[in-house]
């Protein structure tokens, strides 16, 4: 590698996904010199680390970023993985985002009142830094994975691609959120026997009273709830993604009617058996109650806004069916279990961050995305508002954080100029 002079920029943005690019657009608009460093290609996780059939949980009309929105022929459709890649890459091309692809950040440390970013391509120095590496960087796999017999192949939501990859035979899918229900569904459709282990989950139908559920969440203001307004932000940030798929309602009843066996949370492995929690009924009851509370809130909103006459009547969805005696143990060998898919969520990766801003659980401490002086995060669940978890929610977050960042840079200028004039 050739030795090069360390470039200085005002701002380094790490990650060229939708969040990093939204920030880049805002910085570009403010005329702020910056670079977006990307380990792979633009929208890398969508290209490399997701399964083939993945679709967004949000309809196309909701896919909007600062200065950019979906403009295709199917506003009510749901983008597939490749369309998401094209959408994000199109955004970067649209304003010629200063992205450096193929540059992996190896360390970030505080340096000279700003930050130094070491990469496999050499260092950068900046006065402010935006972490936009995403909340879904590394699949989360529970420690009990170590106790699974070696004869069973393990996959994660990061390296599973399609059912064809799995051996024939019984598949255990662990996790009842968006990923788990989608993978259980497509693996079952491939003709395999599927058992789905479900803990706490969020049940939502695709449509309610003739409108997409995302339309309702948007309309009634759920998505606008701010981080400084909720009772328990820590919990709100950990709410799993709802049991949704792009296509249709995909709740546990739908899966069971297609032959997926639903069991409680995977609790462990012992003597060649998987053990499941006996708390399935309550996990389903909690999800049903929460969904029904949301419906009542929607109904009240519809009534208050005079929409009742133009909408189908309030709907009741059947309670989640739970066997009288749900399976508590599964003999892995006797039940012909050959593969297990961990759909147990993702976590961010901050292993390169040499700034003391993580809590004891390894999460970034931040206040609405403001981490430390000149250090920002973007694209985290419920970062500034509930919508922060979605592509469109990043738009507001990026604008607000960019304004904060610009104020910070200007106040730092004033201070350094003051210091110079005093010298």
């Amino acid at each position: 590698m050739t030795v090069r002079e360390c470039p200085r920029v005002e701002v380094v943005v790490i990650g060229a996904g939708h969040a990093g690019l939204a920030m880049s657009w805002c910085l570009t608009g403010r005329g702020i010199d910056h670079v977006v460093l990307e380990r792979g290609q633009i929208a890398n996780a969508w290209r490399q680390d997701r399964w083939d059939s993945l679709r967004l949980l949000t309809p196309n009309w909701q896919c909007r970023l600062p200065g950019y929105r979906y403009s295709g022929p199917d506003p009510d459709g749901f983008m597939g993985r490749e369309e998401v890649v094209d959408f994000i890459a199109g955004y970067a091309a649209n304003f010629r985002a200063p992205v450096r692809t193929g540059v992996t950040v190896t360390a970030v440390s505080a340096f000279g009142g700003g930050y130094r970013v070491n990469t496999d391509y050499g260092p950068w120095e900046c006065r402010a830094l935006v972490i936009a590496t995403g909340a879904f960087a590394v699949p989360r796999v529970p420690a009990i994975a170590d106790r699974l017999p070696a004869t069973i192949e393990q996959y994660t939501a990061g390296n599973y691609r399609s059912p064809g990859q799995l051996c024939d035979g019984h598949v255990l899918v662990v996790g009842g959120s968006a990923t788990g229900v989608q993978l259980a569904d497509e693996i079952r459709r491939s003709g395999r026997q599927v058992t789905l282990a479900v803990g706490e989950h969020v049940r939502l139908p695709r449509c309610y009273r003739g409108r997409d559920i995302q339309w309702w969440l948007d309309a009634i203001g759920v998505l606008d709830e701010r981080h400084d307004q909720v009772d328990d932000l820590h919990r709100a940030r950990r709410v799993p993604s709802p049991q949704l798929s792009g296509a249709a309602t995909l709740d546990l009843n739908a899966l069971q009617s297609r032959g997926v066996r639903v069991v409680g949370r995977l609790a462990g492995f012992s003597d060649g058996r998987a053990q499941f929690s006996g708390g399935l009924r309550n996990h389903c009851a909690l999800a049903d109650l929460k969904m029904n509370r949301l419906f009542r809130r929607i109904d009240q909103w519809a009534q208050a806004h005079g929409m009742d006459n133009n909408l189908p009547p309030p709907e009741d969805f059947p309670a989640t069916r739970v066997d009288d005696n749900p399976l508590l143990t599964l003999d892995l060998h006797r039940q012909g279990l050959r593969s297990l898919v961990w759909a147990t969520g993702f976590r961010p990766d901050y292993s390169w961050l040499r700034v003391p801003v993580l809590d004891r659980k390894g999460n970034l401490r931040h206040h609405g995305g403001v981490v430390a002086p000149g250090l920002y995060a973007l694209g985290l669940p419920f970062m500034r508002r509930r919508s922060s978890s979605f592509i469109h929610g990043t738009a507001n977050d990026a604008r607000e954080l960019c304004a904060h960042l610009v104020d910070y840079l200007e106040s730092e200028y004033r201070r350094s100029n003051f210091a110079v004039s005093m010298a």
Binding site: G278, G279, R293
Partner: protein, 186 residues
């Protein structure tokens, strides 16, 4: 018009619990508790277990009194029936835990309780404990809890109380999930 402020009082000091929760968030090591019981065989299947001290908030703690519990088996098992059977104590623990949870959650949600009763039943095939059939487990094969709750709340809110109390219940978790148990002889 007079505005009446209704103050919910289920006898649970939720403020103190929330303060404790905040304090423990800053000092998670103080959240490490150890619960204890000491047991002595009396005669036959009769034993007596005492509960007095426990460890928590970084130091040894004590109950206000020592509580004792006689355990035995009923006469139809040719025992003297000097106490509840151990499996009935499991139901006692579950009932106490869920009910405490309901009161606390109701207090936190501003729901006034008037009465809370529960009937519990655990079914068991005793061929397991008698060693008659290896396919039958020793413990309960099913546990049913039926609450009747009179409270100033809708049915949905009451169901949500009961669901939340299960979600946060230690005994519910102990019963529904595997727990590592070590039994040694000194």
């Amino acid at each position: 018009m007079t505005v009446q402020t209704v103050i919910t009082d289920n006898g649970v000091n939720v403020e103190a619990l929330l303060v404790a929760r905040q304090a423990l968030a800053e000092a998670p090591e103080a959240a490490q508790f150890r619960w204890r019981a000491s047991c002595e065989w009396v005669r036959g299947t009769h034993s007596c277990t005492a509960v007095e001290g426990f460890y928590g908030l970084g130091e040894e703690q004590r109950h206000r009194n020592t509580f004792t519990f006689d355990a035995d088996h009923p006469e139809l098992f040719a025992s003297d029936d000097r106490g509840a059977t151990p499996v009935e104590y499991v139901l006692v623990g579950l009932a106490g835990c869920l009910t405490a949870g309901i009161a606390s959650v109701a207090q936190n949600r501003g729901i006034q309780l008037h009465s809370v009763t529960a009937v519990l039943e655990g079914s068991m095939d005793v061929q397991g404990i008698l060693g008659m059939d290896a396919d039958v487990r020793n413990g309960f094969d099913d546990v049913r809890v039926v609450f009747e709750i009179d409270a100033d709340a809708s049915r949905a809110d009451i169901e949500a109380l009961v669901a939340q109390s299960q979600k946060r219940s230690a005994v519910f978790d102990i019963i529904t999930n595997p727990t590592n148990v070590r039994v040694e002889v000194r």
